[in-house]
Symmetry: C2
Subunit: 202 residues, 2 copies
Amino acid sequence: MNKGVLIIISGPSGSGKGTVVKALPPEEGYALSISVTTRAPREGEVDGRDYFFRTEEEFARMRDNDELLEHILFVGHNYGTPKFYMEQKINEGKNVVLEIEVNGALQVKEKYPDSVLVFLIPPTWDELKRRLIGRGTEDLNTIERRIKRAQDEITLIEQYDYLVINDEVENAVDRIGTIIAAEQLKPKRSMNAINLFKGAVN
Amino acid sequence: MNKGVLIIISGPSGSGKGTVVKALPPEEGYALSISVTTRAPREGEVDGRDYFFRTEEEFARMRDNDELLEHILFVGHNYGTPKFYMEQKINEGKNVVLEIEVNGALQVKEKYPDSVLVFLIPPTWDELKRRLIGRGTEDLNTIERRIKRAQDEITLIEQYDYLVINDEVENAVDRIGTIIAAEQLKPKRSMNAINLFKGAVN
């Protein structure tokens, strides 16, 4: 059995990352990455399912021991992506999905070059704006700040492995499936097959 | 429209390159590369369909002007892969297929880094031997030389972009289709979409 792939789904706010990630079928071997956080569990949240809940001391130890692929401080709480869970799932053959903003994505790629970076964009710029405004949850200032940020983020696209246009969620899901199938054909992911083949030479 | 991809199908003698290449459906946008040669046309061979037939002087000029992706001398005749035909087809959106032995494949990749290198292998080493022997056209010395050569070639696999196991021809064809679909999602091949998106920012 081949190992799974760490697939990082990123892209500007309004690209539809969250919706696409939720639509990736678990029966096709996808497993969502689970974050470590220092914030308290909310009603109904389960440790090891929604988050790994850790104390500030435990979090600091993980960070200092290089056990996190990336981490951020967000409104007073620490969040991070633990390596151990990703590695465990990948060894089980699962494709681990990490949804993350653009800067975090590039950090993870640096720490784990075998990961696959996917940049998600809506089909047009107007559609991106429409989605941001359509949410109705943010004031115009916030929307303008997000648009400005998306303009900056799009310039980083050449550092990504793949560009997926999110015109329809099911198309984006299909494209991500194609990417994973092709990635599994890279020699570095097929060393088992190669070594078996080489071994049989003797 | 995206440009096509130059896809190089290579692998040891007995890997089934020729059969797989013939099975790639033209209606899915594949176009076979056509070689330049200095040998005389055989009965029924058509210039520009089977080969581009050229004089020694014309061939030398093409080679010296760097108009060939690779070239070899084989039993007194020159053969080469012309850039112009590949570029024309790729600009038409065709996926140009080049079937070539391993050393030639690596030469082409060096000259044209946007090409996609596929290493084809049979499912097992025993199957490779079986296929070489089963041809019944070569003496045991030749077969042993080919097996030795395959052992050397397999060590170059890490320089390839993809490894395709040719267990069944239709599986190999499907895998090559997946590779091309994923390659078309790489940012470097989607600059049109990216520039359109960026342009729409203003």
